[in-house]
């Protein structure tokens, strides 16, 4: 195989180093692009809340990580990154549309039932049964990651050995599981 071409921009150089396993260069690259991604996402999704913007930024970073082998160092880095951003934004919009179709807005309903407990804003996040239910509802890989890392409190390496997956895969699974749990168990928006 021929040697890879010399990267033509600073981000490209960092990504090329990251492809070779340079963790410091990779961290520098991700830290440099994160604020720019945040700006792009906020511009495109002005209506989204800060948490949703952050979710999308993290989605893009995870995708960059997953497909970093597709970056060709002889091409500029930014168009490659923007293509990923466009895809994740479109995917996010599709997800949002799907969720919105299933949800019924009850903003105008002041009272749903007469009992006081049914009309309180306080949601007990510590409800063990609700947590168990939410964890049970996770996809298998995510559930296993949560059980090993958060419930059994194994280290990443121990959990990776126990589950037969890589450390990176476990990190991604945990991140996704936590985001799902936060959505499931977090306070409902009004």
């Amino acid at each position: 195989m021929t040697a890879p071409a010399q990267p033509i921009d600073p981000f490209g150089r960092l990504m090329r180093a990251a492809q070779e396993g340079d963790a410091a260069a990779y961290e520098e690259l991700l830290r440099a692009i994160a604020p720019q991604l945040r700006r792009v996402v906020m511009r495109q999704r002005g209506f989204a809340g800060i948490a949703d913007v952050e979710d999308l930024v993290q989605d893009v970073l995870l995708t960059v990580h997953a497909v970093r082998a597709t970056y060709d160092s002889s091409r500029p880095f930014v168009p490659w990154l923007l293509a990923i951003v466009r895809n994740r934004l479109a995917d996010g919009a599709r997800r949002y549309a799907r969720t919105a179709r299933r949800e019924i807005h009850v903003d105008e309903s002041d009272v749903t039932f007469f009992e006081v407990e049914t009309n309180t804003d306080s949601v007990e996040l510590g409800d063990a049964e609700a947590v168990r239910e939410a964890v049970r509802a996770l996809p298998e890989g995510q559930r296993e990651a949560i059980e090993l890392l958060k419930l059994k409190e194994l280290s990443l390496k121990e959990a990776a050995e126990a589950s037969g997956t890589s450390v990176g895969a476990l990190k991604v699974a945990t991140h996704r599981a936590m985001a799902t749990l936060r959505r499931t168990l977090g306070p409902k928006r009004r």
Binding site: D22, L61, V67, A83, V172, T174
Partner: protein, 218 residues
């Protein structure tokens, strides 16, 4: 997890990755490997049939066009998993497929009626060669594409299936030598179109590559 933690987590234990070859290079390598496979498959299945007049352009031109269509379709498939890659390969793949169809139409003798075409059950064996013989090539293609970012899995799978259909169609014409005519056009063409449609639909339903890693999580 906040973004800073995520960045730290992703960069810790970072494994080196081999950058993918350029799509054109991958397409040429895949075509060469696929050609070897199809030649071996054809030799393995070889039956006697009507001798082909290989010197006639009516015989060789559709096959040359099929090889070009295969190369362009695989180029488009490999390019479609590279974020930010231009859409030019897809256009070239569409042109290649149209030229291939045009050469087959031009080379065919149009003298069979619908009943004769439907009755040509022996062509079902050619459909088997295209679909079943193409299965290992499709698997190989899926493995290669899996390293990319299948942001448009339907489109990627359609190009991959077109590439596989184009190359295995040549094997289907040679394992039991027969001329290209309206009967083969309908049976072979129908099998390839079905393969493309089924693969495109299946890819949209089955999470692939990035989809598998991000939507379902490991």
């Amino acid at each position: 997890m906040n973004t800073n933690d995520l960045i730290q987590s992703l960069s810790r234990d970072l494994a080196p990755v081999e950058p993918l070859w350029r799509p054109g290079r991958r397409a040429i390598a895949w075509l060469l490997a696929a050609a070897v496979y199809v030649v071996a498959l054809t030799a393995l299945l070889a039956r006697s049939g009507a001798p082909l007049e290989l010197a006639s352009p009516r015989v060789w031109l559709p096959h040359v066009a099929a090889i070009v269509a295969c190369l362009l379709a695989s180029w488009a498939a490999f390019a479609s998993v590279i974020p930010g890659h231009s859409g030019r390969p897809a256009v070239w793949a569409a042109i290649g497929a149209l030229v291939w169809i045009a050469t087959v139409v031009a080379a065919s003798h149009w003298d069979s009626d619908v009943a004769a075409i439907v009755a040509a059950r022996h062509e079902a064996a050619c459909v088997g060669v295209i679909v079943l013989g193409g299965a290992p090539l499709l698997v190989a293609m899926a493995v290669l594409l899996r390293r990319g970012a299948a942001f448009a899995p339907g489109k990627t799978a359609a190009f991959a299936a077109l590439a596989v259909g184009a190359i295995t169609n040549i094997g289907a014409c040679f394992w039991r030598p027969h001329a290209v005519d309206d009967v083969t056009l309908v049976w072979h063409g129908g099998a390839i179109i079905a393969l493309v449609l089924v693969c495109a639909l299946a890819a949209r339903l089955v999470p692939t590559a990035v989809g598998a890693r991000l939507r379902r999580s490991p």
